[in-house]
């Protein structure tokens, strides 16, 4: 039984290592910034995920304690990866992007990155209704 567990844990670790390596190799190989974003946001998720599952299994089987930290790490990873990717994409659009290369928004506004900054920025969507105008004094 312990032998099987050891094999499973080792396999998970090796698979995770391979995915991490492929993600890093993707950074090197893909042709432009936007394509390069795809490799680290995805391939590495499974890389880190595999290590964390292996760690949980190890502590559960060999140390008889359930460790929950790994779930937290997974959660933080899943929350931060898309935001980081979005920041890098926006920074890239600001510096090298050309509004003409992008497809049409199919709405009245252009993409937010290229909107005129002088324009007064209003919060676009909010559920709170605007406050009613203060009542006029009667006299």
């Amino acid at each position: 039984m312990e032998q099987i567990a050891e094999i499973v844990i080792s396999l998970l670790l090796v698979a995770a290592g391979i995915f991490g390596l492929v993600g890093s190799y993707g950074l090197l190989k893909l042709p432009d910034t936007m394509s390069r974003l795809h490799a680290p946001t995805k391939a590495t998720t499974l890389g880190v995920g595999g290590v964390l599952i292996a760690s949980m299994l190890y502590f559960w089987i060999f140390r008889d304690t359930l460790s929950w930290h790994e779930l937290l790490i997974t959660m933080f990873l899943l929350l931060t990866a898309p935001i980081t990717a979005n920041f890098i994409a926006k920074a890239h659009l600001h510096r090298f992007g050309n509004a003409d290369d992008l497809p049409d928004t199919q709405t009245d506004h252009i993409w937010a990155t290229f909107e005129d900054e002088a324009e007064e920025l209003q919060p676009v969507m909010t559920r709170t209704t605007p406050k009613p105008a203060p009542p006029k004094a009667d006299h």
Binding site: F19, P31, L72, L79, P82, D108, M125, T128
Partner: protein, 163 residues
């Protein structure tokens, strides 16, 4: 009164769970401290969060999480395959526009994050009025099918959860 004490009940619950996971063992003392933190932090940060996310259908979230987890694993294999075996010249990157039916900011944030984590797509930008998302595809010979899949697979489900 209860609303004043717990301006964001979901945030309180999330903070308690997060604290218990951080402590990594179940003891009454940590639970009491978790409840104290879960009460104080939402009250202090309440001025920055005037809105309260509405959840129409909290049970559907579990199904959504499972689908997204499955897609994340799938996307890892797809992207790894593209990185390893697709020559640079055969890569057909594309920008696509996804018009949004979702209107709540929380739902759009979740959709944008999901798109980034799933097969071959990264959310790059949003239109000025918040009615469309700009998405970059790593390899998309047929951009329209990618857009339709996002709309039917994720947006329709989020619609049921949030709106």
């Amino acid at each position: 009164m209860l609303r004043k004490l717990f301006p964001h009940p979901y945030l309180t619950l999330l903070l308690i769970i997060t604290w218990m996971l951080l402590v990594n063992h179940l003891k009454l003392g940590s639970l009491v401290f978790a409840v104290i933190l879960g009460t104080i932090i939402p009250i202090i940060t309440a001025p920055y969060w005037p809105d309260r996310p509405l959840l129409r259908n909290p049970v559907a979230i579990i199904g959504y999480i499972l689908i997204v987890l499955y897609d994340i694993v799938k996307s890892n294999f797809i992207v790894a395959g593209i990185v390893l075996f697709k020559p640079k010249t055969k890569l057909q990157s594309a920008w696509i526009t996804v018009p949004l039916d979702l209107r709540t900011p929380e739902a759009i944030t979740v959709l944008a994050g999901t798109i980034t984590m799933t097969p071959g797509t990264v959310t790059a930008d949003m239109s000025g009025d918040g009615k469309a998302l700009l998405i970059h595809c790593l390899h998309a010979p047929d951009p329209d099918s990618v857009r339709d899949e996002i709309k039917s697979r994720y947006e329709a489900r989020l619609m049921r959860i949030f709106e």
